[in-house]
Symmetry: C2
Subunit: 381 residues, 2 copies
Amino acid sequence: MALTWPQGIRSAGVASGIKSDGALDVGLLVVEEPAAWAGTFTKNGAAAAPVEWSRSLLGSPLRAIVVNSGNANACTGAAGLDAVVATVAAVADRLRCSEREVAVASTGPIGVRLPAGKIAAALPDAVGQLSDAPGAMADSIMTTDTRRKISTATVGGCSIVGVAKGAAMLAPNMATMLAFIATDAPLDALALQPALNVAVKASFDRISVDACESTNDSVFLVSSGRGPQVDEAGFNAALTAVCWDLAEQMVRDAEGGSRLVRIEITGAQDEERAVAFGRSVAASALWRAALHGADPNWGRVLAALGSVDRKLDLSQMRLDIAGHVVFEHGEPAGSLSEAAVAMQADEFTVTCTVGPTDVSVEVLTTDLSPDYVTLNAGGMS
Amino acid sequence: MALTWPQGIRSAGVASGIKSDGALDVGLLVVEEPAAWAGTFTKNGAAAAPVEWSRSLLGSPLRAIVVNSGNANACTGAAGLDAVVATVAAVADRLRCSEREVAVASTGPIGVRLPAGKIAAALPDAVGQLSDAPGAMADSIMTTDTRRKISTATVGGCSIVGVAKGAAMLAPNMATMLAFIATDAPLDALALQPALNVAVKASFDRISVDACESTNDSVFLVSSGRGPQVDEAGFNAALTAVCWDLAEQMVRDAEGGSRLVRIEITGAQDEERAVAFGRSVAASALWRAALHGADPNWGRVLAALGSVDRKLDLSQMRLDIAGHVVFEHGEPAGSLSEAAVAMQADEFTVTCTVGPTDVSVEVLTTDLSPDYVTLNAGGMS
């Protein structure tokens, strides 16, 4: 059975010419009726114009989201907001709805003026191609992504379907990413927003590729309300699962990354501290370089943990890399050569047992490769 | 005139065999008489045994500092402290002083047991070679450093001479580094410690190579007291100049770095905020990759600033890269191609004008190169 959006949701993806290679670069998601929705957005002080616009819509119903790739429309001044307004007006005109029912998202290079006319010109095609298949929209939001990212879950008789993009500028505080999630679960904004907050905190906030926060991060959750009543706890769990799956797909597709590494922190005093530990290890350029070389240089893990907790108790600490203990009872332990062999896998877990509690969280990262640098060393001029 | 230590200070550097290639790896600095000193040390929770030992000596006089490279003696458990005690005992025995008058520092790989016997065996040579020339000691502390780092200043009739090492794992909170600074200015520990605190905060705390904090950072300032009285303000300024010069030498020699980049933050509300801005830009892997490619991708600078200030006022902001304006009045400005050409220099300044005040600080960084990754991707197993 082909993957489809929940009932009442349709999307399209078209090529407007923003991307010079002719790839899909404009996505449109439409709800049949004005719909309840929730959103989380970058906290960055240089947030892009589309973020400012979409955030301002929270609390009122939504009919459509229009998204472009190939241009972030960030740090573009008054022209940036003009481009948003022009785009929104064009969509509202096509769909015969209010401009305030149209959200916007953009992703791509910062600081380049967005040619809003190209989006408007592509809208007839986009509207004409609206369907219940999410694939074209998922493709239209890709930048340096090499694979489309889609995830789905069912809860009761309802479904949750999300598409996302994100391959670098990925840091906690949602990472540089866009995600568009739709459901038919009949929940209002007052139920959707806390569900999304919790899901984002437990997923997109727990991945780190380069610890660089972005100007355009946006996660949308929109409901057509067409499905049967669902249990809210079950919905929340399913939503978190979709977000986690999308987050994991982002890390797997990270720029220059060759392996997915799960940083598991166990035994911290509370979840907040555990996440801080995990992020610090996941953000260490030195440890991520070691991951690239399959080098079990665990001292870099301890240094990253010690930068979070100034009073780290090494005697309580145990480190396992890819299933091999390398540090225990305050001292080196086990076999580095065995760990090194296991680190050549495409995917493995680094378990940091930092204390005696049963608190456990996982933060995802990837290795830091020469390719990451090369990919990010040019292109603006 | 050859560079010499202040009167009353001598040093040596010898090869003990800790480094397998036979390079100098043990340094010894000796003061004629028990001397006043100050120290600043890593705040990392996984601080190495030598750090714990030396920090415990603060407040009592010092006769000698023994340092080894090629092994950090960090995260080595009880054996690590045993190695420190054995080393200190051997030095005290040679110099006929108290063990509590001997400080220790180590730098190199974490988690490898330190062969203290090799240091003890090399001590007769080291003591025999003590002289007023700092070069051999400066060489003996090098790890991935490619150049020795020495700086000197005079104040009144006194001198300040420092040697240092540091090439990666360089982050604020002193960066991964060792520095040994000596003076003959007749100041007691109560004067030396605040002077050193201020100097470190304005120098080693303002460099960032990979934002990785280390387990072994130590800065020592020791006075033979043999010089004439000096003006304390003048002394403080000269000490800060020496520390800044050593910090700059570290960034110039950073692993894999090909250019020195000064991140100048002007106009912030206060110095603390300015330093936070500077560190964030200096730590951005994406911006540092762009620096490597001489790519004026200034959006990454704004994103880094915006991660510090959630309410950044872009209309107040101006960015200049290597003397070329690229962003002003909330909008892209100037010529990217001119900036790109200027970025090919070995050294340039990125000026971020974030507001109207005259607060100005500089944070030093370097580009992120594929070589950095390659250099740090192997070696433990």
